[in-house]
Assembly symmetry: C2
Homo-oligomer: 232 residues x 2
DNA sequence: TGACATTAGTGACACTTTGTTACTAATTCG
DNA sequence: CGAATTAGTAACAAAGTGTCACTAATGTCA
């Protein structure tokens, strides 16, 4: 009988295969679209998320940026990790573990890399089960954090109208917002400041241009909200 | 010159070492405490998070449950992933990539596994930089989600007083809540129902016991809140 | 030119939510 | 008994939100 402490035993580290799978999202028309790449061949699924293994010494976010750029052609405006996935569900490259990352980019018409295409979230082609799960999680994460990250502002040019901004929020959240309420809340947030320029967009009254200029303010200490729903 | 499509090239999957690092948190006195295990020896840090590599075919959450139980002695009440960490910062087992998981457990006095000990979050011993980052992230994640997960209820016995519940929320959030506001919000949430039992806890008026009994309700469609702070 | 459609922006009202104070209720301790 | 202690609630003020209706500035087109 061997003598050794019951805990901790120095754990044995096994080798696994790791992939970084990136969900590149972009406002397209009035919904969100995801960027998919054509799969080499063979399998039932012809499309997959752009993915790769991280290079030696490369951080996960760096890898995600590189992978996104390799399919998109440009660097995305925002990257956020959405979790690690290791269930048995098949990965296109048979990686044991995937790190899912969501990337946001403004609408770009510049030619995508050959083999890459935009798909509306409501009309995605069949994906491997793991990629399907990563996409769903990515959308959930984005919707949960829009109001806590400057995501919307990174999808707009340096100056923009409040209607532009509201449209981005509506696309990211997937639902309509009320104009007056939106502006009141924005006013109270000190996140934007008006410029003295106006933009005339064809018909209708010209709109004032604003710029993203967050001013320091303390996080309000709100009570608990019990936003816990039994159906979610 | 070889002929092949410019994209996608079937990526090469490299082998990496993977660890699941678990932050077991528990209410202790009036703060949160984390469970650490003694490190075999040698290094500067004498303590680390419980961790291990997942077994072949084992899911990440399953691995986290096993690891938590191996240090805690019992299964934790709730597990949630907090992200993957792959920066160069040293891991006690030199894993290339760590998946951080936070576990919550009610206060347990049952003997921990030898070598494991509770540390108040405000008085943690030196940890490897990666473990330090995982702990910080775990606390942030818990505080961000208390009101969207039944976490607090899993830390209480089947029936509990509203003061018990409020105390758990205060420990999880790390700040005081107002009694009347807390109860009003709870009332509106349809998450608990009263039993016809009362508990007399020595001094003071006896408190009614409640049980967790969430009733279906639709998620309210609130507008955007712009909870975006420049200092966070 | 002048009515109309269209988009931008605001005022005002009702209603809800929240923070706070102050109270009442039921128990133990001395 | 009365004081201390904990539970629970009423009520008010302030802030936040949903909504409607309005004004403003432009292009379109008969």
């Amino acid at each position: 009988m061997r003598e050794r402490p019951s805990h901790p035993v120095k754990p044995v580290v096994r080798k696994t295969t790791l992939a970084v799978d990136v969900v590149v999202l972009s406002p397209q028309a009035d919904t969100l679209a995801a960027l998919l790449v054509r799969t080499p061949a063979g399998g039932r699924e012809r499309w997959s998320l752009p993915w790769d293994a991280p290079l030696p010494g490369e951080g996960l976010e760096d890898a995600a940026g590189r992978i996104a750029e390799s399919a998109l052609g440009v660097t995305p405006a925002l990257l956020e990790q959405v979790g690690a996935f290791a269930d048995a569900r098949r990965h296109p490259g048979d990686a044991d573990v995937s790190v899912g990352v969501v990337a946001l980019t403004p609408h770009v018409e510049t030619a995508l890399v050959a083999g890459a295409e935009w798909f509306s979230l409501s009309a995605l082609p069949p994906l491997s089960p793991r990629h399907r799960a990563i996409v769903d999680r990515a959308v959930t994460v984005v919707r949960q954090r829009v109001d806590q990250s400057p995501a919307a502002f990174r999808l707009l040019p340096p100056t923009f109208t409040l209607s532009d901004l509201q449209a981005i929020y509506e696309i990211l959240l997937g639902r309509r917002l009320h104009k007056a309420s939106f502006r009141r809340a924005l006013q109270a947030s000190y996140l934007v400041e008006p410029t003295d320029e106006w933009r005339s967009e064809g018909r209708g009254r010209p709109a004032q241009l604003f710029r993203y200029a967050p001013r320091k303010r303390r996080g309000a200490r709100r009570g608990v909200r019990f936003d816990l729903f039994t159906d979610s």
